[in-house]
């Protein structure tokens, strides 16, 4: 290890499986993040978020009684959320499209599929640190901009007001 430590960085691991939770904690410790808090579900995690103000959250998707999707929704939208902008990496074994889309649509910042690799986790963290995305607030959504990449071939559909800002009004 390089010996670098981040004395002021705090991370929260939300995972109901104790083995995976321990693994994730160990990976963050290997990176030099020593303040790693743990929660076994979304409800407990929200309490930790309020108490410890982590800078980064890693969360599982399926947990009881509050899963990763409901937890993320509460973090992003709840009036009592201490930090609606905190980066959230969702780590999941789910490959069902509807679950991934649901997680994206509540404002997850990054996804990481199991099995976990060091490179995979570190790439997601690097993405958050080096290329933080704008947040978008509209009637249906609050969270990181889901238009992640500038795709020159994209031809629509165009939905946002700003997409039309420079239009000539037809009278």
């Amino acid at each position: 290890m390089s010996g670098t430590t981040f004395e002021h960085l705090k991370a929260l691991v939300v995972e109901d499986n104790v083995h995976m939770r321990t693994l994730l904690r160990s990976l963050l410790t290997a990176l030099g993040i020593n303040h790693v808090y743990e929660a076994g579900n979304g409800a407990d995690a929200f309490a930790v978020l309020s108490d410890k103000s982590p800078d980064l959250i890693l969360t599982d998707l399926s947990m009881k009684p509050v899963d990763g999707i409901d937890f993320t929704r509460r973090v992003r939208l709840s009036h009592d959320s201490p930090n609606p902008y905190v980066p959230i990496i969702m780590i999941t074994g789910h490959t069902e499209r509807h679950k991934v889309e649901a997680a994206r649509d509540v404002g997850v910042t990054e996804f990481l599929a199991k099995p976990i690799t060091a490179q995979g986790l570190f790439l997601r963290i690097a993405e958050i640190v080096e290329r933080p995305r704008p947040y978008v607030r509209c009637a249906e959504y609050f969270g990181p901009d889901r238009r992640r990449r500038a795709d020159e071939l994209f031809t629509g559909p165009w939905r946002r007001h700003e997409d039309f800002e420079n239009d000539l009004e037809i009278k």
Partner: protein, 184 residues
């Protein structure tokens, strides 16, 4: 913004979106971001983290075998909910336990049961039993990856895909639009 913007108004309803740029909300300070970037790309740090994962593999394998026992127990008791929960734990851990084929088979079963549940249908007992048997055998094999595990995983994945297509087709016929069963 992406691509070429439209020359005129599109028929879609416009969403009034407010964009909040990094900095207008709290981000990592430049100093911390720079140090983190260095650490994240430091070969020694990455290697240390990879060793952490390798070191945990045996513990995870033992844990997976425990979930397999409980999954089989639940299946014998015809408790599909618990069977699914245990299969879900297996798919989450098996890859990091070095049981790649086991994880793939468990993933196929979870995808199938999820689709069945969403479609409100009864699971094909033969397909479920085949998966349970394959998960148990693959997890308990000493060299699951080099024996038949991958072949069995591939064959079962094809079966699951066929079943998911059937569920989708059936739902499409009923609703006239895409069904919920597709996996990503």
């Amino acid at each position: 913004m992406t691509g070429k913007k439209p020359a005129s108004r599109a028929p879609h309803k416009r969403a009034h979106a407010i964009k909040i740029p990094p900095g207008a909300y709290p981000v990592f300070s430049p100093k911390v971001a720079s140090r983190l970037s260095q650490a994240l790309r430091d070969p020694q740090v990455v290697a240390a983290a990879a060793r952490v994962i390798a070191h945990k593999a045996e513990d995870l394998r033992v844990a997976v075998l425990g979930y397999v026992d409980r999954m089989e127990e639940a299946a014998r008791a015809a408790d599909l909910t618990t069977t699914f929960e245990q299969a879900h734990e297996i798919r989450g851990l098996a890859g990091n336990a070095g049981l790649v084929a086991t994880g793939r088979i468990a993933n196929g079963l979870c995808k199938y049961l999820d689709a069945i549940d969403r479609a409100g249908r009864t699971p094909d007992q033969t397909l479920v039993a085949l998966h349970l048997e394959a998960i148990a055998r693959a997890a308990r094999a000493e060299d699951e990856a080099t024996r038949l595990g991958d072949t069995v995983a591939n064959e079962l994945a094809a079966l699951v895909d066929k079943k998911l297509a059937e569920i989708n087709d059936s739902a499409r016929r009923k609703t006239g639009r895409d069904a919920p069963a597709g996996g990503a």
